[in-house]
């Protein structure tokens, strides 16, 4: 078979072609958002519609801030809420998840099989399905309109515990026993032996936790009645209805979509190798 310069054979070349076409389909909407976000008003109104921005401007980002002036809550407040909620919720998911995965993997605790079975089943859990009882529970806990109301309902992340436990299972039991003989406490073993060994999995669930919290709209929609407590993701979702009638809002909404997308992308790019390494141990047996 004829080899190309980068060492691809014929079949690989065909695969490359197919994947390039699919990638174009996958990336086109994203490229479009980026262009739309930087288009000045007269380009947004242009007919026939154009894809690539000609005279990039930051006007849409300014408009995004201006949209909120009428509602007494500045967009910066939503951004601040998003940052606070994302930091607290991500920390909560990672800390509780890793603390829970360690004994599940390394101690023979009575009842742990049953508990892990419940966690595996709850991988299927989607909060939208039981939004009503969750609303009733949050209401009766008295944490509506507080940051707790955002953070606590997000903390239990079954997929995080699952991935960490699968990864911790790869760490030899002998290492834990050896540390114990050397006189390490359980907390010492967890923090100094276990966590460094499962660093890739920790990075992975940090990304998943970050994405879950950053894009979450459910807690704002259900548990926050005060506008000043809502998050950026939720605020942006309120901009989208009937967008085709309002060209100014189209630009602002595109700018907002870009603001929401970029942090997730950057966090993923930083850790992508670790992410794929962790996923090798994601199997359900």
């Amino acid at each position: 078979m004829r080899k190309l310069r980068i060492g691809l054979d014929g079949a690989q070349f065909a695969i490359l072609l197919v994947l390039t076409l699919v990638s174009v389909f996958m990336l086109l909407p994203l490229v479009y958002v980026v262009n739309q976000a930087f288009k000045p008003l007269h380009e947004l109104l242009l007919f026939p519609p154009t894809f690539i921005v000609r005279q990039p401007t930051l006007q849409n980002f300014v408009d995004l801030l201006a949209v909120t002036e009428t509602t007494f809550v500045p967009a910066t407040r939503y951004l601040l809420n998003s940052i606070i909620v994302t930091l607290l919720a991500t920390a909560g998911m990672v800390v509780t998840g890793s603390l829970c995965a360690y004994p599940l993997s390394k101690h023979r605790v009575p009842g742990s099989k049953l508990f892990f079975g419940a966690i595996m089943l709850s991988l299927l859990f989607v909060e939208e399905v039981v939004a009503i009882p969750r609303f009733v529970i949050v209401q009766s806990l008295g944490i509506m309109n507080t940051y707790w109301g955002h953070v606590l309902p997000m903390i239990a992340l079954p997929v995080g515990v699952f991935l960490l436990k699968q990864f911790m299972d790869q760490v030899p039991q002998e290492l834990v026993e050896a540390a114990k003989i050397d006189g390490a406490t359980e907390i010492g073993i967890f923090a100094r032996v276990m966590l460094p060994l499962v660093a890739p999995a920790m990075a992975t669930i940090t990304i998943i936790a970050f994405q879950t919290a950053w894009g979450n709209m459910e807690t704002s929609a259900l548990f926050m009645q005060e506008d000043s407590m809502k998050t950026l993701a939720f605020f942006l979702s309120t901009l989208t209805p009937n967008l085709s009638n309002s060209v100014v809002r189209q630009g602002a909404a595109a700018a907002g979509a870009l603001l929401l997308f970029l942090p997730s992308l950057i966090v993923f790019l930083l850790y992508q190798r670790k992410f794929i390494a962790t996923m090798a141990h994601s199997g359900i047996k």
């Binding site: 966690i119 299927l124 859990f125 939208e128 979702s237 209805p241 909404a253 199997g283 047996k285």
Partner: protein, 324 residues
């Protein structure tokens, strides 16, 4: 997965005949011995119980009541379920068929598609892999509602919409198509958008699974007479990565449920002629628009039961027989 030793195992056979009380005492002693382990699990366990287990239990309870969030719920027994399956015309004529079609394409079709894409990516040299993996994964990073800005503008119903503009220009159609208000198109567009955003962690798990298959298995396969790549996939790749496939399948169910609000984000709720109403949006319709929380909970319980059945089915397919 290291199987945790059965509780009785560590006591040895000599005490097997001892009474129930001794067994209970040993269990309590074992629990006490592991008190620190329980303390480690406590924070997650609490959140898990309060925000996952309790809502499911409460949902089952609410589904047997008439509840409007203001007055105390009234017990009505199975009435909500009877209404759901005999009188809710929208549910029976729109929601169920829509959900079935949506689930079929986004579920099995999307799953096979992401396997094929992951397999193709794995055939390329390392350098190219990361770029393509990122291209497939990036859409799943966009938060659902925010991307509605793209789809609304792309599918605008007059000639200023991108898709209409190109179809008109290339002569495929004579007049613009009202994509988002036409019931024949809306569900298909929702399916397209959901598949677009579905290459998430399940897809990465598959990619990692394919890359992890022992290379020697392929060599051995060649000696045993496997001649085509298709045979290689069927007899070597898939059997060696069943656990990852099961994880990916579960994640695809989750993604499917998450993305079923796409119609609401595109055209608001309810969608024209209920063309884009799926089970999840039907729950929201009754729960948060009509405040019939009892009835909405009954729909939730129905969906939970469907998901559990699907989970059992998937396990039967993907869990290797000898481990059962």
């Amino acid at each position: 997965m290291p199987s945790s030793m059965p509780i009785s195992g560590r006591k040895g056979t000599a005490r097997a005949g001892a009474g129930l009380r001794d067994g209970l005492r040993a269990l309590l002693a074992d629990i006490w011995k592991h008190r620190l382990s329980y303390l480690f699990m406590l924070p997650f366990f609490t959140a898990f119980t309060v925000f996952i287990i309790l809502p499911i239990a409460a949902g089952i309870g609410f589904s047997m009541t008439n509840f409007n969030a203001v007055q105390a719920p009234d017990w009505v027994g199975w009435l909500n379920y009877q209404t759901l399956f005999s009188q809710d015309v929208v549910f029976l004529q729109n929601v169920l068929p829509n959900t079935f079609k949506f689930a079929l394409f986004v579920g099995p079709f999307g799953f096979v598609l992401s396997f094929l894409l992951a397999w193709m990516i794995a055939q390329l040299p390392q350098m190219l892999r990361i770029g393509f993996a990122l291209a497939m994964y990036a859409p799943s990073l966009t938060a659902g509602a925010a991307m509605a800005v793209v789809w609304q503008v792309a599918f605008t119903g007059d000639r200023t919409g991108f898709i209409n503009h190109f179809l008109l220009q290339w002569g495929f159609i004579e007049r613009p198509i009202l994509f988002l208000s036409d019931k024949d198109y809306l569900l298909n567009i929702m399916i397209l958008i959901s598949i677009w955003g579905s290459m998430g962690i399940g897809f990465l798990a598959m990619l990692a699974g394919i890359l992890n298959v022992d290379k020697q298995l392929y060599e051995a396969g060649k000696i045993d007479g496997i001649s085509s790549r298709l045979q290689e996939i069927w007899y070597i790749t898939i059997p060696s990565m069943k656990p990852q496939l099961l994880f990916a399948a579960v994640m695809s169910i989750v993604g499917m449920l998450k993305s079923s609000g796409a119609g609401k984000e595109l055209v608001g709720m309810p969608t024209p002629d209920y063309a884009g109403q799926l089970i999840v949006t039907h729950i929201q319709d009754y729960g948060f628009i009509r405040y019939e929380l009892g009835y909405a909970s009954a729909i939730s319980v129905f969906l939970l039961v469907l998901m559990l059945m699907l989970n059992q089915l998937l396990r039967r397919w993907f869990v290797p027989k000898e481990e059962e």
